[in-house]
């Protein structure tokens, strides 16, 4: 099976994050990592390859610095990578990014596209759906389990209340949550091997996309202002008047912890 995994580089969500003067995500002043959910997509792709054979390609749209994340992704085990990099991409919205990803995916003709369910910087959860629309393939999103049987895909789709079972035939895109598996840590052999794996560089020109369709110029949405997260408040106090347990559980349920 020809699998492409979408891997985005994001600012480390464990560190201090901010926006640049132009209101785009500040990628220069923070340490950048693979979007956490994408590591689960990579793991899932590798497991499918191990069970059914095939090839795994990492696809990234991002600035030059994203090569670090591509190397790290490759050190987990994928075969090769494609890196779409172009100065005109700076400031791209989800629609524009999807356009670029779709164009790159057409050159790879995958049977299965795997992605994280969301990225920790944008958190819009729309790219997988947009890609499905642009490519005319099925979208099985928010997976907590994926089963492959020939060209038939079965997904347990995680919802707030439980899960839905949905199926589709390849080609399709599946986005995954962090409940789907336990990503492997790169081994030294994987790290050494990654240095020799091919990384194909593509520009917008290679994909037949003009600069004004993407970036700030082509953005369908615009950030007008932003505010810092409010300081932490005292939190909720539960006074136990015999029903403390119930109150705790209903609080946890309202926050979707249980």
């Amino acid at each position: 099976m020809n699998i492409v995994v979408l891997v985005k580089q994001v600012p480390d969500s464990g560190a201090e994050r901010t926006l640049s003067a132009d209101f785009s995500v500040d990628r220069a002043s923070s340490s950048n990592v693979i979007n956490e959910m994408d590591e689960y997509a990579i793991e899932e792709a590798l497991k499918i390859k191990e069970a059914h054979g095939g090839e795994v390609t990492v696809l990234t749209v991002g600035p030059a610095g994203a090569t670090d994340s591509i190397r790290k992704a490759l050190s987990m085990g994928p075969d090769k990578a494609v890196h779409v990099q172009d100065d005109a991409l700076h400031g791209s919205c989800a629609v524009a990014t999807s356009k670029v990803l779709a164009a790159a995916l057409r050159t790879l003709s995958p049977d299965l596209i795997l992605s994280g369910a969301e990225s920790t910087d944008g958190r819009v959860q729309v790219v997988p759906h947009m890609l499905a629309e642009l490519l005319g393939v099925a979208a099985l999103t928010g997976a907590r389990k994926l089963t492959v049987d020939g060209s038939q895909l079965t997904v347990e789709r995680q919802t707030d209340e439980g899960y839905e079972v949905v199926t589709a035939a390849t080609p399709a895109i599946v986005s995954v949550w962090d409940t789907i598996n336990e990503p492997r840590y790169p081994s030294f052999k994987g790290i050494m091997a990654a240095k020799k794996k091919p990384v194909q560089a593509l520009t917008l020109g290679d994909l037949g996309i003009s600069g004004d369709e993407v970036g700030f110029a082509g953005a369908t949405s615009q950030v007008l202002e932003f505010n810092k997260r409010p300081a932490r408040t005292g939190g909720a106090k539960v006074v136990d008047e015999g029903n403390g347990g119930e109150q705790l559980v209903s609080y946890l349920a309202s926050e979707k912890f249980v």
Binding site: S75, K189, M192
Partner: protein
């Protein structure tokens, strides 16, 4: 020009192990430590990420790395916990390495794939109740029974790491196999598989530290193994363990640096968050200076083991530098754990605190794989004294 910054692949390995230690070891290790249980699941995960194969070539199931890669991994593990770090160190450096370095092709084929994958552990039995720093005190004897072509082993080994886990597959046993022309004992190493009749593993010791690692006294009572279990040549035991321990010192230095660095990490976080007399205690110069000194020790000790490893990998004589690295790093670990617990106040005296464990784990670093006095003897010998 000399440069102590890491090559990219070592840096990536360090990041990978750092993340593993933080995500998989830190949350579970205090419980294992308290209950004195061996962390099988953590060890299995370390195996699947290739840590047990780091310095071995791929044909033996290894990662194709080198001894320095192992040291980097040990440092990052020990930054969080020393029990898992020593389990890796002993399994690789004392268990599998002798078989890789001195074993026959058959012995390598038989044992290395399981050892380098971490599916099985091997141990190294040198120390005895009456022989530690001075191996000439070894009493364990192996006699070749020519009628059956078997070694018959009798004796006792003390403090042997990894010798009694459910996945231990063998112990490399140092035994007297005869007398040299000069009257000294002829020492040889013999591979004794776990479960061989007459080979008894005593219950685990109650230890001050390294409480989630596996250490036992072993007894050998007419234990019979095939003559082919001799590791390398007969009479080479002394030279073999000297080589193994010279390398091992660099590994223990790396582990010590990890502990010393862990003390810095924990103290910085704690001092910023702990308030006394109206300020974070990190506002007090007395506390800042304690932590600055800790950082000084960790960093300089790190340079020492990087240097010793570089000399070893370059094929230079590294004995003296390995001894310096180990002596200095184990001292850094002891000092840092002393002051890190101080910064933590009463909480530092609790076993649940990481620094409480570091304090208990530091002492053995001045003893295992050559005491600090033995390191001084080696340094002095290197100076022609």
């Amino acid at each position: 020009m000399v440069d102590f910054r890491l090559d990219k692949e070592y840096e990536e390995l360090r990041d990978s192990v750092r993340q593993f230690a933080r995500e998989q070891v830190a949350p579970v290790i205090a419980d294992h430590y308290e209950k004195k249980t061996f962390p099988y699941e953590v060890i299995r995960q370390m195996g699947s990420m290739g840590l047990f194969g780091l310095p071995f070539p791929e044909e033996h199931g290894g990662m194709g790395g080198d001894y320095f890669a192992l040291c980097i991994a040990l440092e990052e593990l020990a930054r969080v916990d020393s029990s898992v770090a020593i389990t890796l160190e002993a399994a690789v450096s004392l268990g599998a390495m002798p078989i890789y370095r001195f074993g026959t092709e058959e012995q390598r084929k038989q044992w290395l794939p399981r050892l380098t994958s971490g599916a099985a552990l091997a141990a190294f039995g040198l120390t005895e109740p009456g022989a530690g720093s001075d191996a000439s005190g070894t009493l364990t004897r192996a006699v070749l029974d020519e009628s059956t072509n078997e070694w018959v082993i009798n004796g006792t080994k003390a403090f042997i790491t990894n010798s009694g886990t459910d996945i231990t597959c063998l112990v490399n046993v140092m035994a007297v196999t005869g007398t040299n022309p000069d009257g000294s004992k002829e020492l040889s190493t013999i591979i004794v598989p776990s479960g061989t009749p007459g080979f008894t593993v005593a219950p685990g010791y109650s230890k001050v530290g390294w409480c989630a690692s596996d250490t036992h006294e072993l007894s050998f009572d007419d234990v019979r193994v095939p003559a082919a279990n001799l590791l390398g040549e007969r009479g080479r035991g002394y030279a073999q363990f000297l080589r193994i321990l010279d390398e091992g010192r660099i590994a223990i230095a790396a582990l010590s640096v990890g502990l010393a660095q862990g003390c810095v990490d924990e103290s910085v976080t704690y001092a910023k968050n702990r308030t006394a007399f109206g300020h974070a205690i990190s506002d007090y110069q007395a506390v800042k200076f304690l932590i600055a000194d800790m950082d000084l020790r960790a960093h300089t000790a790190r340079l020492g083991y990087y240097d010793a490893a570089a000399r070893m990998l370059a094929g230079d004589d590294f004995k003296r530098y390995a001894a310096i690295a180990k002596l200095n790093a184990s001292n850094a670990a002891m000092e840092n754990s002393r002051w890190a617990t101080q910064v933590h106040g009463g909480y530092g005296f609790m076993n649940e605190s990481a620094v409480g464990r570091f304090y208990r784990d530091a002492k053995i670093l001045e003893v295992g794989e050559g005491t600090s006095e033995v390191q001084r003897m080696l340094i002095a010998r290197g100076l022609g004294l």
